[in-house]
Subunit: 253 residues, 2 copies
DNA sequence: CAATCTTTGTGCACGCGTTCACAAAGACAT
DNA sequence: ATGTCTTTGTGAACGCGTGCACAAAGATTG
């Protein structure tokens, strides 16, 4: 989607697969840890284990970046750290604005994982007037009314939404209007954004529900194997349920 | 992986694709909203739009669950809510334990999104003795020493790890030993768990880095198109960098 | 009852991502 | 310099997920 110009000369020039991009931060973290322990080189096998992936996958991922690495030896840790950082755009500073300073927003503001990499919390924004001026994580909260100005003045291009779901879309629209082109959404809402704006969502509730699914499957593996393995009954062929909103009426038990 | 018995009669009996499972919570959320507005039926097109997916994908997803839905009409909202809830295992109660009551852990404990579905915060656990007894979100924090007992007594099978990265693996091991078989990990660490234990990770830092990558790509699309489009130089063919940890020395600028 | 119209359910093709397996490349020893 | 040994980089096969496009199903109307 939106590959930009399709007439690029080299096919693989900027063609780093999404799946690979998503793993680069993992490699970077593992490499940083090695770097701090002053390990000079690392093999694909070792690094893969540290990052929790397959070694073949790791090598293929790196092959998209170029042929760093020395056969028979492995990869130069410092060199790779730099290359991946550069590829991810972490050699520059990314001012980030957090909108919605509730429990979660405040927790994120206090989270140390930002500054370590190229990210910097540039502004905290909340709709509650009573909150304006209150310092959170050493930064004074500002009011939503000034959102536009705050984003522009700080050159923020990445926004984090931690508002209640009802306010998320509106905040999103305002962020985009102010110039934000990347959004990390913690609100349980489907955000619609114009072309060219990236949205990633982090949804606690969804993650738990996925876990519950597998958990249920594990539990049903032994006990309810017969009772649950067969389809319960599905759309009753005779007594149809009709469009009138009557209750399920199909519950097996 | 771990399909259990392979000799199941119907091939598609429990064979719901992971990608579909990951979307079911999305559908459920959209359906719940419709249900609250007392909408009796919904077409795949409408529901797909509300959930932010393709309608064909949605129909295929539902086809894995069975043939609910009436041609020419659509899907019965209440009926679908029930079916998906059941499929995800949300008709039962899932006691959840949160380990690591820092900023993030406290925020999650206060988060309302838990109780709404089948999840219930059954215990808060922290390693800080000074914290024991302190109520957070109306629940007294308990000490890590009692982790085993707490998990067993409450029948917790889903654990949430919000500890510092250094403690995550140890906590994970103890949770698993106590009987937890599903873990939601917020710590930036690769957890290793025995077969049969599911781990999902939520990593703020990784999400931001992925956004930064795309953001950089967008910015480089116009200005640095020539300067960045071509590979910088890669492993210098003549002056090799050698395994001794010298600095990058490849920076284009 | 027949015709029409809406919407589902799915066969099929395509593209992406993963994994295997191996040749090429270089380090290192003799 | 030659051979051996390690590890990378990648061609190729496979499987999963996605989206198109259409036939089948049923509702609805005349």
């Amino acid at each position: 989607m939106a590959t930009g110009r399709t007439h690029r000369p080299a096919t693989r020039s900027r063609g780093i697969p999404e799946a690979t991009v998503a793993r680069l931060p993992l490699y970077l973290r593992a490499l940083t840890a090695l770097s701090e322990r002053s390990v000079p080189t690392v093999s694909s096998e070792e690094l893969a284990t540290a990052a929790g992936v397959n070694s073949a996958k790791l090598r293929k991922d790196f092959s998209y970046l170029g042929s760093y690495g020395t056969r028979g030896v492995g990869y130069d840790v410092e060199y790779l750290v730099y290359q991946i950082s550069r590829e991810l755009g972490l050699t520059q500073d990314w001012p980030v604005a957090i909108v919605g300073i509730g429990n979660l927003g405040a927790a994120l503001a206090n989270y140390g994982g930002f500054a370590s990499r190229g990210f910097r919390v540039a502004a905290l924004i909340d709709a509650d007037p009573a909150m304006a001026g209150t310092p959170v994580a050493g930064i004074a909260v500002q009011h939503t009314d000034d959102l536009d100005r705050i984003i522009s003045e700080n050159g923020v291009s990445i926004g984090v939404i931690t508002t209640p779901p009802g306010a998320a879309q509106q905040v999103c629209d305002r962020l985009v209007a102010a110039g934000v082109t990347s959004i990390l959404n913690f609100a349980p809402t489907v955000l619609s954004v114009p072309e060219g704006v990236d949205v990633r969502k982090v949804d606690l509730s969804i993650e738990l529900q996925i876990l519950a699914f597998h958990e249920q499957r594990k539990a049903g593996e032994d006990a309810t194997a017969e009772d649950e393995g067969a389809p319960p009954m599905r759309a009753t062929p005779t007594g149809r349920k009709g469009p009138d909103g009557d209750m399920p009426a199909v519950m097996p038990a």
